[in-house]
């Protein structure tokens, strides 16, 4: 019979491996996500405001507050949304239904797997300081 401390240690190690595995970005998913992001390039960039706001610093940012961007719809400015995996998943699926009045006249990324890849890639690519620099 294994000592109790060994079982606990093995359990902890297994847990850490599991956490590590889930936290590590899936390289293939990121590559697919970058491909999906190409659809956004008419209006968005990671660095620099375009027809739409820049995405650098997106995660954790309150909607309607990208630095230097002043063309937000009233609906977006007043939404009180904060961008994270969950809110992006809802918005990107069907922007005009999720946030009526948004200027993002786009039917949405309907495929759940594509949205997941896109959001995973966005999270990596929009990390300010590490991956990008917001342009005021």
């Amino acid at each position: 019979m294994k000592p109790r401390w060994l079982i606990v240690a093995l359990g902890l190690a297994g847990g850490l491996i599991a956490v590590g595995a889930s936290a590590a970005p899936d390289v293939a998913a990121l590559a697919r996500g970058e491909q999906v992001y190409a659809r956004c390039a008419a209006c968005h960039a990671i660095e620099g405001n375009r027809t739409g706001p820049q995405h650098c610093g997106l995660f954790g940012r309150r909607a309607g507050t990208a630095p230097g961007y002043n063309a937000y719809s009233k609906a977006m400015r007043e939404s009180q949304w904060v961008w994270d995996e969950k809110s992006l998943n809802v918005f990107l699926k069907d922007p005009m239904t999720a946030l009526p009045g948004t200027s993002m006249g786009y039917a949405g990324v309907k495929d759940a797997a594509e949205r997941s890849d896109l959001i995973a890639w966005l999270k990596e690519a929009s990390h300010p300081g590490a991956a990008c620099k917001p342009i005021p």
Binding site: A38, R39, C40, A41, A42, C43, H44, A45, E47, G48, N49, R50, T51, G52, Q54, A71, S73, M96, G101, S103, M104, G105, Y106, A107, G108, I135
Partner: protein, 197 residues
């Protein structure tokens, strides 16, 4: 493997539809035709398209207009970069001309629908520091065109006024040709897939 079924209309139906479109003059949409067509249904239909739906159509058009004006500015940056060869420069200028036509047609339609067309920005934030050789300029332009295809594709199903959806589809076709040509010049497969998303 994902199975995709596509409805292919019979040749007879296709031909009769083509004749019908030719008769109505809408088979080939010039910039002026686009401006005339866009908004016509909505204005004529009255009860069919609500004021709220019209407002949403105008909002979608204005976002497209902003992107078109940005594309015009981007091609200007490319044309003035001194990086484009003698053979490529006129093509880039021609594509810029198309974007100018799109912008004019959309702005006119927005006005006709009672909206205020967005104006070009005084200054655009383009990654000019990354444009070192001709291929960089072409790749940047190709990225914009690729995005424009998706943007119009994502706008087509949203218009309450179906005539506006036709206008968007017409512009989408032009953007797709730009993208294919730019990819060809870059040595990439000009048409890399059967479907766009």
């Amino acid at each position: 493997m994902k199975s995709t079924s596509i409805y292919v209309p019979s040749q007879a139906l296709f031909l009769s539809r083509r004749r019908a479109m030719s008769t109505s003059g809408a088979a080939v949409l010039s910039a002026s035709a686009v401006a005339l067509l866009g908004g016509h249904d909505a204005l004529a239909a009255g009860a069919k398209v609500s004021a709220q739906e019209l407002e949403a159509d105008v909002r979608i058009l204005n976002t497209a207009l902003g992107a078109e004006l940005e594309a015009v500015a981007a091609y200007q940056v490319g044309a003035e970069s001194g990086l484009l060869s003698k053979a490529v420069l006129p093509v880039a200028v021609a594509f810029q001309g198309h974007h100018k036509e799109h912008a004019a047609a959309i702005a006119s339609t927005v006005q006709k629908l009672g909206g205020k067309p967005v104006a070009a920005k005084d200054k655009y934030q383009f990654p000019v520091e990354k444009l070192k050789v001709e291929a960089d300029v072409l790749r940047f332009a190709a990225g914009l065109e690729r995005g424009a295809i998706s943007a119009y594709l994502g706008a087509v199903p949203l218009f309450a006024d179906r005539a506006l959806a036709q206008v968007a589809a017409s512009i989408l076709g032009d953007e797709a040709m730009h993208w294919a040509v730019l990819r060809q010049v870059l040595g990439e497969s000009p048409v890399p897939s059967a479907f766009m998303s």
